[in-house]
Symmetry: C2
Subunit: 320 residues, 2 copies
Amino acid sequence: MKENQCKIVDCTIRDGGLVNNWDFSVEFVQKLYAGLNEAGVDYMEIGYKNSPKLLKGADEAGPWRFLNDDFLKKVIPNKGNTKLSALVDIGRVDENDILPRSESLLDLIRVACYVKDVDKALKLVQTFHDRGYETTINIMALSNVMEHELLEAFDMIKNSVVDVVYIVDSYGSLDYKDMELLVNKFKQHLPNKRLGVHTHNNLQLAFSNTLVAADLGVELLDASVYGMGRAAGNCPTELLVTHLKNTNYQLRPVLEVLEQLLVPLREKEEWGYLIPYMITGSLDEHPRSAMALRAAEDKDKSVDFYDKLTTPEVGFDKNK
Amino acid sequence: MKENQCKIVDCTIRDGGLVNNWDFSVEFVQKLYAGLNEAGVDYMEIGYKNSPKLLKGADEAGPWRFLNDDFLKKVIPNKGNTKLSALVDIGRVDENDILPRSESLLDLIRVACYVKDVDKALKLVQTFHDRGYETTINIMALSNVMEHELLEAFDMIKNSVVDVVYIVDSYGSLDYKDMELLVNKFKQHLPNKRLGVHTHNNLQLAFSNTLVAADLGVELLDASVYGMGRAAGNCPTELLVTHLKNTNYQLRPVLEVLEQLLVPLREKEEWGYLIPYMITGSLDEHPRSAMALRAAEDKDKSVDFYDKLTTPEVGFDKNK
């Protein structure tokens, strides 16, 4: 049996931070890192490397929203085998904040972008690559991208230095056939690039779609413990750890993290399969309207919500 | 585009009754039936047709545990297009309780059995068939069945009168590759039988596995609204209704049922993806130990639970 080529990228702090405004204690993050490291998880995405100067509401967010390298060294004084990753958004990162990799605990910097910004993303990627980091480009909202846009993006990407190209199911609307189609398309047009996948659980397909992608050769698999992530959340780390074949992952340390950190947190914060998120997923649109509903008084009025989204003259401004 | 051949069998009352001891009010069941009928769902499994004489603890269960034909006529005075189904277990059904179909509201009687009891199940099937009912045989715990046992069962089944043969993932341990393998095996050995599938959500794969089975030609798809069913629950009816292609299902009536009935019920009763159920699913065993844990004081101590299940000398008696 050949060794499984997959690598898990745990996004609990980064994507989960979208749930609780990155209000994780240092102790929480330290325990999570220790557990993931013991479990053999390959990467931990410990936050965003955006600049607070370039974002509104920065004062209210936890420190994982704007990672600082000195702070990070205090949080993780003894780094293990689990590498550290940070995400940046186009237009929200100050390149002057990015130290050379030799002076940072970060190993991987990932750039999230919509397909129209692939050129800008690749400029950032080049900068991070030149400073020594592993890099990825994460193309969001692929279910809403037209074929010719994607082909133009592939043309730019295949000649770039980026290490890994991500398929991102931002709206949690893809099923296994969609995922097969996308992975095969990416493989065909980007034969020189490794691939990654990031899923959302609106239709309870995050884990399944990740398995399908992995079986087709996608290497970097995003996940989060107990699926903690924006809206319907992500592929659960514990399921990948226990189910991927021919790997050396250990489930027990992830169970400890679940029991001590994530299951109690789920009592206070909300994410996962909820009907409004199912509705936006099945309509193939951004969950922001569903998130607004869940924050409102009438959060369980999903029939009204569905009517608004599906009756054009009454509809929300979807801002798509 | 060809019409989708799939039929949804909603098991909310029958399998959901395993969660709340069938404590559904008549009004609840009536509203559910009306909603499923409006949504175009093909079958509603309204309970068990076992005999209270043959089961301990019968007094405490709701009426859906032991369906009575006269009672059923009061519950559903105006039957719509949605057919009614009941499940029976081997050794728990009194054949004298089964009226001719012309005198009953029931259309379909399904027989659940382990592979070793297929012969007994087929005798019951013959009786129900002779009384005019559609019939299925639901072979449970297929993930624990050896090849030669299954082949012997196929030999008996293919010469029987049963209409539909079910693949049942009792432990919620199958993934899409397992499901593909099983469906293809059933198709190969039972070319004259229609197939059905019943999944559990221990690994968040219930919906995905049901989609895979449907795409391979499996016709009867078990589901329940909000996934309500024993332990980790089932494939959610709302996801099939919204996602199956080339069908005439309507999501909105299911959303009404969700909002009025199932989402509020989930506040009081527990089912769905929870870590102890994930553990038994990943170990491919019956969830009874996890259900016992969830009923106990230390219900969130999943690390201890995992240690007990995976350390042979300390382990529970799994009764497998």
